[in-house]
């Protein structure tokens, strides 16, 4: 398993560099956590403890912040996060049904990752594309006015 450890070490090294760079900003914790999540994909306890050590902060403070914000996750995510908008406009125009259809299609529940590690199904509060309701977002691509299963099948096939 040497390569994995090596890769892990590389990740920690780049995190260390980021912390060193941002350490002197005023209260950079959230920015650092954001970058850490970009590097590792999620924020497991080990990463939180590492940041605590580097920043000379109690680990409990880091844990408090990580668990407070929706953006941070302690569970690994799939390659793509499929965010279904559950804002009011989307809700009124059928977001619950859209979630059901996607959930059936991927065979996962809200918050879960598909077995092949490709998609994580997640909900997001309003992406500001209300005129296209109901919408879901994968990365930076927004898909709107989704009202049948065939559209979902077609879109998701592009990511396989």
């Amino acid at each position: 398993m040497a390569p994995v450890t090596q890769m892990q070490n590389q990740l920690y090294d780049s995190l260390k560099a980021v912390i060193a760079e941002k350490k002197n900003l005023r209260n950079p914790l959230i920015e650092i956590l954001r970058t850490a999540q970009e590097i590792f994909g999620y924020l497991p306890i080990e990463v939180q403890e590492f940041i605590a050590g580097e920043m000379n902060l109690p680990a409990s403070k880091i844990y408090g912040v990580v668990t407070f914000y929706n953006f941070f996750t302690m569970i690994p995510r799939g390659k793509y996060t499929l965010n279904v908008c559950t804002g009011t406009a989307c809700y009124v125009k059928g977001a619950p049904r859209l979630i059901q259809m996607i959930s059936d299609h991927l065979d996962v529940k809200m918050g879960e990752t598909t077995k092949d590690g490709l998609f994580t199904l997640s909900a997001v509060r309003c992406v500001g594309a209300c005129s296209l309701a109901p919408v879901f977002v994968i990365g930076e691509d927004t898909f709107g006015r989704i009202d049948n299963k065939d559209m979902i099948t077609e879109i998701l096939a592009r990511y396989k």
Partner: protein, 619 residues
Amino acid sequence: MSLKRIDLLICCGSGCVSAGAMKIKERFHEVLQEKNLANEINIIETGCMGPCDYGPVMVIYPEGIFYKKVTEDDVEEIVNEHFIKGRPVTRLMLHNDEEQTFSTKKEVPFYQKQVKVALANCGFIDPDSIDEYIATSGYEALGTVLTTMTPQDVIHVIRKSGLRGRGGGGFPTHIKWQMVHDNVADEKYVICNGDEGDPGAFMDRSLLEGDPHRILEGMMIAAYAIGATAGFFYIRAEYPLAIKRIRHAIAQAKEMGLMGDNVFGSKFCFDAEVRTGAGAFVCGEETALIHSIEGGRGNPSPKPPYPALQGLWGKPTIVNNVETFGNIPTIFLKGADWFASMGTETSKGTKVFALTGDIRNTGLVEVPMGITLRELIFDVGGGMTGGHKFKAVQLGGPSGGCLTVEHLDVHVDYESLKERGAMMGSGGVIVMNDKNCMVNIAKFFMDFCVDESCGKCSPCRIGLKQMLDILEKITNGNGKEGDIEELQRLGEAISKLSLCGLGQSAPNPVLSTIRYFREEYEAHIRDKSCGTKVCLDLMHFDIDKDRCIGCSLCARKCPVTCITGSREEKYTIHQLDCVKCGNCQDVCPVKAVNRIPGMHPEVLAKHTAEANLTSHHDD
């Protein structure tokens, strides 16, 4: 710089981009290159033009021709016909039901009743270009303020204009500024609140993306007035483009010397930076926002002390909404009297709204305060879609309330809306037709608030959960007499006792729907029936035997095989097994499957029997 004969403005707001605006822009570049026209036509990416429903939209100057729902395949035709032969493409223009054509942007009915102040440049200039902003009198207001006015003069102008906070509360802007101005401190801060968390609202996003320099200029004028030397933009992480645009605007302003030390040769020095949120609705509350910038959990703290006295890092701080800053440069360019001439006695100027829901012209609009809801929904919004009837309009998101048909002639201002149980809020307007269940909508907002409650104070953390539980019981057929009164009692207590604005206003959607749609709550509780057939437990599916052709498709698609029958006898749903997935309705080729309000009698009988059994156990 070469002169171009045509300016092609392509809306690159989020709605149009989702509808494919970027691909269209690429295609224009390709076609113009092919035809050797690239040096004659200027392609400009603008911020949101407003009518998102028509997206992707574009406007072509000098004539101001407006095209809607343009596709990649239309590009060649526009270039050949419009750009080369000078014949605008009528097919892509807006037409109404009476076959009337609106060829230019000015004629489009959507824009008729709008007055653009904060949105003046949105959809008109390239947001990444400081030159274009300066060409529309950008930074002129800042120059005038810094070279000819004292900070106190600035506050006087704002007072005269009557500007109130556009973030929702409507607190007079000049009072906030005056308080910070009067507090003596070695450092003061100004914060732009761009944590637009209301579901169904995208005003701040469009402003930050469409005209970032305006917000920056507004912030600098505020900083000068209160004596701040540093500013922070707090923008939610879900808006990466807004973050990028503001960062770019700050860099450009610094490069031009419009920000930094001794701006315009004055003594005013200022620096700004962007801090991003991490997904917490409560961070829109000013004290929570401040804690978040300080790197901690975004829990609100009790007021007083107000941020004006002890804000960011304990220093006097003003927190203003994006749109509030967006109004400021224009107030100084056109005068406080001009601004105050629009609107009502207590609410001056204009307000930006994000119109969404079951109306034709969903999108971003700016209208004078005091406009009636009828004008906003039916004239600007173009009325309801699909011939449905107007049922309710929700203003103010999770903090606001629903208004009904009887309120259509209410003038939109802070006080009139509040009196009737709704609120201006940040500007999300969701119009609903008669297919929406109000109990379900109230439950939706309550679910949102329970999810977003930070948990610091118990009325909000525990109380809202209790309200949600009751609403869930009501919508799944377990509502009982007294539930409505209990919701009201809890709602009023939570409003009075919660620490911050989130909890204080969270019961509003429930209280206002009880006030105006009590009979719907009663039907859910007493008759176990959802008239709009939205609440799945309080409706059932039924196959119309006269229409059914016995094709068996529904039976084959039913996941619980609860549909049986034959070609001769037609098909029947066994109600006790049905899971209400709706597959049968989706697949029926002759639309013989209907949704019927109320529990099916068989299900109701079983449900009542079970409920009696449980209540005996309780005894």
